[in-house]
């Protein structure tokens, strides 16, 4: 393959891994727990900005052509890890503001507005992350390993793949764990979960945090590759794309985010970005958006459970498999849940 094609494909592979990471974070919130976080993209942005300012040197470097805060010039794995933590904390913070009190769709609208506020703040305060122009020349973490650009891209794709695999394994372990069962209980019936001693608000805040951290990691991986990040990179419509990806792939299923992220953002949106243009310059991108909208409506109408639906989970009944003592079956069920997830908070 020629260099240009390899470059193109390696780029697509990296984008695919980044979208899969992000989609699995969103799946944890939206698919598993039923938290409608329409500001999801700002956590990716938080991770990206965090990585950018931690890896860039002081703001005065390069003739001070861009203004930003921090500028620590930290070595490789630190920015990635710190970005995850920062985005996770941001998730808990925003969640604490909203998640306790608002109806599901109202929460979605409020988060949408928060997402736009964040874009506005970052665009208008130039000193924060260089305003609308955004940050550029963000250092590449593995630049010292090779000077060949194509080799570097494949190396980076490998790195993104490893991060992606780790995130997928972690999310899967979480979903299959007793904690994951509690999260699904919150999604299916909040009141029943609360009646069984689950702290619904704390569980929601937890997934706001974990999902935010995963989004932050995806942003960190993305920005170290693209080396640039601006408010244009995280418009609220990107959140819409991720939600569409989940709905297409299968909401709440383990492999749904993977399939959805490859089909919707990569094939539909990024895939055509490097293809020959026809018509005026805005025609192809607008047709892509129309295609995403139509795909979304078609899936919601014809296949609302997606390509890989969440499998139905069955559990042996605790109440009948054990002899009844003086306790009621209700007590047993609670005891059982406690045993699985630790004492209730």
């Amino acid at each position: 393959m020629s260099g240009a094609w390899q470059f193109y494909i390696a780029t697509l592979v990296i984008y695919a891994f980044v979208y899969i990471i992000a989609a699995s974070g969103l799946n944890l919130q939206f698919g598993v727990t039923g938290v409608y976080n329409f500001a999801f993209i700002i956590f990716q942005a938080a991770g990206a900005y965090c990585t950018a300012v931690l890896t860039l040197g002081p703001s005065s470097a390069n003739g001070a052509f861009q203004h930003y805060i921090v500028g620590l010039h930290l070595p490789f794995p630190l920015p990635l890890l710190i970005s995850g933590v920062v985005a996770g904390l941001l998730g808990v913070g925003l969640g604490a503001l909203t998640v306790r009190r608002l109806r599901a769709d109202y929460l979605a609208i409020v988060m949408l507005v928060i997402s736009l506020i964040a874009t506005g703040v970052v665009t208008d305060y130039q000193g924060l992350f260089n305003g609308a122009a955004g940050l550029a020349l963000i250092p590449q973490p593995f630049a010292s390993l090779t000077s060949n650009l194509v080799v570097y891209d494949w190396l980076y794709a490998l790195f993104a793949g490893i991060v992606c695999a780790l995130v997928l394994i972690a999310v899967r372990m979480l979903i299959e764990s007793p904690l994951g069962r509690s999260l699904r209980a919150v999604r299916e019936n909040e009141n029943a979960a609360a009646a069984l001693g689950k702290n619904v608000t704390a569980l929601r805040l937890l997934v706001f945090g974990i999902g935010g951290a995963i989004a932050g990691i995806s942003g960190s991986v993305l920005v170290s590759f693209t080396q640039a990040w601006s408010p244009e990179s995280w418009l609220y419509a990107e959140t819409f794309v991720l939600f569409t990806a989940l709905i297409v792939g299968g909401v709440g299923s383990n492999l749904g985010p993977l399939i959805g992220a490859v089909l919707v953002p990569v094939v539909l949106a990024e895939g055509s970005r490097y293809l020959p243009q026809f018509g005026p310059p805005t025609l192809v991108p607008s047709l892509e958006w129309i295609a995403i909208g139509v795909v979304l409506l078609a899936f919601l109408w014809f296949w609302p459970r997606g390509i890989l639906p969440e499998r139905k989970r069955t559990f042996p009944s605790a109440a009948v498999s054990r002899p009844l003592t003086s306790q009621t079956t209700g007590d047993l069920a609670v005891k059982d849940l406690e045993k699985e997830s630790g004492p209730s908070r």
Binding site: L97, R103, G120, F240, F243, P281, L283, L297
Partner: protein
């Protein structure tokens, strides 16, 4: 002090446009219990209909009427053709939001596919400046304020003094009870979408008449302020939407004038965030509470 009054004047113009849109958006939520995120795209579509009529040689005010009618029909069809079928399948509330967002994106980028990303403006006479107290308006802006006042009064009269309005309020508070009382809920919902669609079209065209720039994102960008105004006023309540619009409009322009022009949107959102923390159902909260939007 003089300049404060001046900026309040600018704020009233923004508030007028917001008010038309916010009343329409909030009516849709009140009667259909649905956040229609395609509202902004409908505004843009109407503004482009007016642009086409205007380019064909029609007077801008006549174009405004035609565009308003077009938006009314478009909203009605959107509800009948897409939203209602989904709702009949007992689609979840969040999924409905995704449906409306999908419809909005299709309309917005459909417009962009046809007209591209360029800016357009209407062919109309520039208004002459008018001083009111120490506020400065153009005659066009005064017309915009007058249109908003007439629209708000009309909605108020409709809701307060007509049979249809009474039925609409009943459906907003409890649709099932309204149906059991013999109110033809379907017809009420249809009329609401015709009326609120007309308001979205009116808001879209009036917005472009005021800011004099039209592109495929015009309506969607402004729509965020409309959501903020409607939520601030108490979602579902028409009078709340008017209050919310005036607060957001005036604060946004005063902040833009005194602090920094780019502070315009942010200041509005800060108010919104505070309201959501202290009183998530908004200023006039009867319908928002009835629908339990917040705990």
């Amino acid at each position: 002090m003089q300049s404060l009054v001046l900026y309040i004047g600018f704020g009233l113009v923004t508030a007028s446009i917001l008010c038309i849109g916010a009343v329409g958006f909030t009516l849709q939520f009140g009667i259909s219990n649905l956040f229609n995120l395609a509202f902004g795209a409908t505004m843009t579509a109407a503004a482009f209909v007016a642009y086409v009529c205007n380019s064909a040689g029609l007077n801008i005010w006549l174009s405004l009427v035609l565009a308003t009618l077009a938006a009314s029909v478009l909203s009605f069809l959107m509800n009948r053709g897409i939203y209602l079928p989904f709702e009949r399948r007992a689609t979840g509330k969040f999924t409905m939001i995704m449906v409306t967002l999908g419809v909005g994106i299709i309309i917005q980028y459909g417009i962009e596919a046809i007209w591209g990303g360029d800016n357009f403006s209407y062919n109309m006479a520039a208004g002459s400046p008018v001083h009111v107290a120490s506020m400065l308006f153009t005659t066009t802006q005064l017309t915009v304020i007058a249109i908003a006042a007439v629209a708000a009064t009309a909605v108020h009269v409709l809701l307060r003094y007509t049979r249809l309005g009474k039925a609409m309020r009943a459906v907003a508070v409890n649709a099932r009870l309204a149906r059991n009382c013999g109110i033809p809920v379907k017809a009420v919902v249809d009329s609401t979408w015709l009326i609120s669609g007309a308001l979205s079209g009116l808001a879209g065209v009036v917005l472009v008449i005021d800011v004099q720039v039209l592109n495929s994102g015009t309506g969607s960008d402004f729509f965020i302020l409309i959501i903020a105004a409607a939520v601030l006023g108490g979602i579902g309540s028409a009078s709340g939407a008017i209050v919310g619009s005036i607060i957001i409009g005036v604060v946004a322009e005063v902040a833009a004038g005194f602090i920094n022009p780019e502070f315009k949107d942010i200041s509005a959102f800060i108010i919104l965030a505070v309201v959501l923390l202290l009183r998530p159902t908004g200023v006039i909260s009867s319908i928002a509470s009835a629908k339990e939007v917040a705990r």
